[in-house]
Amino acid sequence: MRLDRIVWTLVCTSAVAVMAPVSARSYIRLASDSNTGSPLFRVDNAHIKFLVNTTIAPGYANSDGTVMITSGSDPMPALAAAEAAWANVQSAAIGFQPLSVTTLQNDPNDGNCVMTIIDTPENRSIVGDYLAITVYTYSADNSITDSDIVFNPAIVDSNGNSVPFPPTKKRTLTICVRLPRTKSATLSEPTTAELREPP
């Protein structure tokens, strides 16, 4: 897959799905102890509030001066669509509050769920080569107390060329999820949403 075709991927995670045990191919089961321990859960599953940092905006440039979100992009509707897709999953007891813009940054200890693409050495380090990651903090009882989504502020292709977030008006948002048909367990499910060319 050419990186310049990937365009962008939004990883909206944070423990938004409530699901039953299913095949390992369908889920990444968030749990303590490297996903082999007790399942993690969140108490705000019915009204999860995500804040979108002001860096996630058309024309955003990283610290190298490279535009990472093209000027024609409209990321807020894309993010809202990702949430809506989850909220509309019948078998998932998930609800979201409307997105709002914030100047808060990713902080694993502030209890705020923030999406950001701010370019710092710290964020480049934790994101690594992923397009985006979710950072979640959980307490001793396995309840998730914080979950931030950090987008890669320096996505490049193999030639070192940046791959910015493209105009969304020409693309559709596809949520790549495979949920179970039952709803009894309390697990956390990362959601992957990709921006793709419409058919």
Binding site: V11, R25, S32, G128, Y130
Partner: protein
Amino acid sequence: MRRLAAHLAYRQSRRSILPAGIQLAVTLFVVTASAAVSPRLSFDQMVDRSPVIIEARVVGSRTAWDPAHKYIWTHYELQVTDTIRGSSAVTVVSEPGGSLDGVNQAFSGSLGYSPGEHVFLFLFRTPLGYWRTTGGSQGKVMVGEDGRIHSDIGNPDATVEAHLPQASPREPIGVSAFKSLVRSLAQSRAANETR
């Protein structure tokens, strides 16, 4: 050597296919092993983007805060058995996440390592100075007890040779053949160390 020669000969004749086969095998690891998404890198790209490539065994781990005392990192100590590219001084691979001081942090896509694991690691240096695997889990190639290359997801079918094109020699890739292949490619291509 006959197997390696066959692989290399095939590679020279169908240069775009063998890397693609390995790419497929390697990238299959990442698709299924991680919640986070990383770009699928070809074998050539993996080598290009990895200034350090080593063969090692995992011997232990420790957790520590980053310099800003914001995120917890788990640092896995390695016994490096061969340095295919770069500095032999790299003896630690790091992943964000862990538990420390009563705080539990986890990161989607973060890789785990177990003591005793025999691995090939394609590494880059993060801005914080930690060494991480290139392309997420694509940069961690495990060696099974059978001496063959396996994925890190415990799928016995996900061996490199299982995904080589049908036209290629359908022989298992062992450690020495894999290492020779990587070394050959690493010697012919310069590493891109920028991130």
